[in-house]
């Protein structure tokens, strides 16, 4: 019994330590964000941010678009198969439009970015730890959080919401194609129905979620990298852990935000 309690206690402390480290890292990064901004910050950090935006955002465009189109088709087809029985095919439009702007667009994007960039952050920083590059930064009087993490965080804060908007558009486009081929609904009419079914707050709640997801992905990926000790095998473990933990936390955060928006009447 004592061993079981001891185990639970150890796990609890480890999880609290992890959450505490994430919060400390987030606070340090927020304090360093001024140095990453264009015009007022350090131009080398801003250049690095732009490079990261291209990697996180532009390079992920095809993957996110394809995932959104596929999910849009799936959602439309699954919805239509049930709604057709009640003669309510036009609700497929609402389902796809509202489902994507509030939920699926940000979530799919976060999962794609977590797999691509979260793991890349962990691998890059983990390798820098193993090869003493992080130590070299410190002895050269650079703060690793400002030098390595802050540009990635700013890039994620900009790229992830942009990708979410693209994901929304692709998902809705897929719904339009399905409606055109299944009911001969004219594309222009489809987009008019889409605009009628969503309101600005749907888009805003989706974007709030994607900013939170970007924060989780950037910080979990980087923290996993900074915690690497040992050799290449530790880098591999940190990469896996970055994807697993960030995806898990993204889904949990999504549930929390959805509940908040639901109970505060924002949905």
């Amino acid at each position: 019994m004592a061993t079981v309690l001891e185990g639970i206690g150890k796990k609890t402390i480890a999880h609290l330590d992890y959450v505490g480290s994430l919060n400390i890292q987030l606070w340090s990064t927020l304090r360093a964000m001024g140095s990453v901004l264009p015009f007022v910050g350090n131009r080398y950090r801003w250049k690095e941010s732009v490079r990261q935006m291209l990697e996180i955002g532009v390079d992920a465009l095809p993957m996110v678009a394809l995932m959104a189109v596929s999910t849009g088709f799936i959602l439309a087809m699954q919805g239509a198969s049930e709604l057709r029985r009640f003669g309510a095919m036009h609700y497929v439009i609402d389902l796809v439009a509202v489902g994507f702007t509030r939920e699926l667009g940000p979530l799919l994007t976060a999962i794609a970015v977590s797999g691509r960039s979260g793991s890349a952050f962990a691998a890059e920083i983990g390798t820098m730890e193993v090869t003493e590059e992080i130590d070299a930064l410190r002895v050269m009087a650079f703060e690793p959080v400002e030098f390595v993490l802050a540009p990635k965080y700013l890039a994620a804060l900009i790229a992830v919401p942009c990708l979410s908007i693209l994901s929304n558009l692709c998902g809705i486009l897929a719904g339009g194609l399905f409606m055109f081929f299944s009911t001969r609904l004219a594309p222009l009419l489809y987009f008019r129905y889409v605009l009628d079914s969503i309101v600005l707050r749907d888009v805003i709640t989706g974007l709030i979620k994607s900013v939170a997801f970007a924060t989780i992905i950037a910080h979990v990926g980087c923290l996993e990298g900074f915690r690497v000790r040992g050799g290449p095998d530790a880098v591999g473990r940190s990469t896996t852990s970055a994807v697993v933990r960030s995806t898990f936390l993204v889904v949990v955060a999504d549930a929390v935000f959805t509940a908040i928006f639901y109970f505060t009447g924002k949905m």
């Binding site: 350090n42 080398y44 003493e132 590059e133 130590d135 070299a136 410190r138 002895v139 009087a141």
Partner: protein
Amino acid sequence: MSIISIRNLVVEYDGRRVLDGLNLDIEQGETMVLLGGSGCGKSTLLRHIIGLERPKSGSITIKGTDITRCSLAELDHIRRSIGVAFQSAALFNSLSVEDNVALTLREHTALAPSIIDLVVWMKLAVVGLADFGKLQPQELSGGMKKRAAVARALALDPEILVFDEPSAGLDPIVAADLDELILLLKEAFQMTVIVVTHELPSAFRIADRIAMLSKGLFVTVGTKEQIRSSQSPLVRQFLDRVPDNMAKTPAIADYFKRYLQTQEAFE
């Protein structure tokens, strides 16, 4: 006056004492070699001297500032007067060799880009890599990487130059070349040089004084001649390359005896 003064330095990891109350003064302009076997604590001592870790107790005063108790800003100020060449070179793999050298000049000085280019070329020329500035670190050999790391360490004209195992992983000729480079740099720039090594020929070639560590304590500190003539059993064992006879300890001897008996039984 000592440029570095270490007093009662105690370092512990998880309750295990790694450095046990060390005292050492390093004079301005001298080459101090920290000598000792694997795991004796010399790299740990070095990490504390360059401010990468804080000790359990004791002090390390560099140029009048106790780096174990000073603020991060003060530590960064001290760090700008220390150049470090890491064991693994720790060059930033995402930057070219010349960008590695230029990094601190760009970020810590207000020099014009043309002057920075000139300084970078000079630093690379000092270490014999003037024609290799455009290459990426992964395109360099082991010896060239260490030279590039020295060029980067020299970028801000430090008063203190630190080498962690400069000969590790290099063939005798390249290692000897690096020793000559260290002597040349010291003579040309009148720097204080600290070298961590376990290579005896290298230590006796470059040192003004040698501090020998064993199990977290200084066995002896003295000039090359004093070390050579030392009658301390630990110093003599190290200098005369006398094995610990680990294989003759009762537990291991018993294990081998039992293993051989088992093998005979199978035959």
